[in-house]
Symmetry: C2
């Protein structure tokens, strides 16, 4: 259970390797503290981070959405989520996404954990929330088609966790976190 802090490698050089409308890939020349030099590629993050919300419809029921995912070209089950807009706090973004994607706001948000994905390549941070005490309120989102909202009983969480279309690591982290701490 060491707490040693290693010396970060020195960034000798940084350049843009490729750039599209949404993505920017950076090449890093790194020198590690042992003298070893390596070239790494990483994705440059242009956004303010993202949020994901586990909404409690009532004490025994959570809400899911089913949404098209272009990366896998499939419909996936998961929790409402989205990017934080400029000027928004994570909490404001969480409430806005909830209103846009499931048609509810929430009076109570509990922050669970800040997570990243594949930090060797990406820096984008996502704050996971649990939302309680919902009230009906809709905002228009930018989805190409209406999202399907699904009520899922918490006591059938295992069935959800074992589904092939519930496979996003951040949704799984959020659900398991809620189950560990709330039941």
């Amino acid at each position: 259970m060491s707490n040693s802090s290693q010396t970060l490698p020195e960034i000798l050089n940084k350049s843009v390797a490729a750039c599209s409308r949404f993505f920017k890939i950076e090449t890093l020349q790194l020198k590690f503290s042992n003298g070893e030099q390596r070239e790494f590629e990483r994705m440059q993050s242009s956004n303010q981070g993202a949020v994901l919300v586990v909404p409690f419809y009532d004490k025994e029921t959570i809400l899911l959405i089913r949404e098209y995912a272009a990366g896998t070209h499939s419909y996936e089950l998961g929790f409402p989520k989205g990017l934080i807009d400029p000027g928004e706090t994570p909490l404001e973004a969480a409430n806005r996404e909830l209103k846009e994607e499931v048609g509810f706001g929430a009076k109570e948000f509990i922050e669970l954990k800040k997570v990243v994905m594949a930090p060797s390549y990406f820096s984008s941070e996502m704050t996971l929330f649990m939302a309680k005490d919902l009230y009906p309120e809709s905002l228009i989102g930018d989805e190409p088609e209406p999202l399907e909202v699904i009520k899922w009983p918490l006591d059938k969480a295992d069935e959800l966790l074992n589904r092939d279309d519930f496979q996003e690591a951040r949704s799984i982290s959020a659900l398991l976190w809620v189950l560990k701490n709330d039941t």
Copy 2:
């Protein structure tokens, strides 16, 4: 708890938006079943998927590694992981990564779950494993510096989950999955 299968959008056109040594970004022209047309970008996956292993050093202790992550330019705690090489099964890759990154092989592997990350943009799949009955065996990996291996008592899992340098969604999913099913 609907099981409706929505009609997948039609891919009208596909083109390469940008390309680097490691990444290939694709532009998709999509037509949704309601007639709505949109342009999406996604990362094309060139690999065979990846594996991540929660190694049990003994019944009460798991092994972690501390590794430099270029995306966040920080040292991060997590589980041994890596890409599946051509011709390898996920299980063979899991045992190889374990030998390369922590200096142990394992006699027993239990598959926990296949996960993806941000499937709106990526398709890469990672198989999460739990490994038991370890035996010492090392393979040389391609790391630029030796990885620090850390023994962590399972009864201090909460402390780990709350650390700022244990934040990778796939590591968190794997640990919470193990805790839910094994304790």
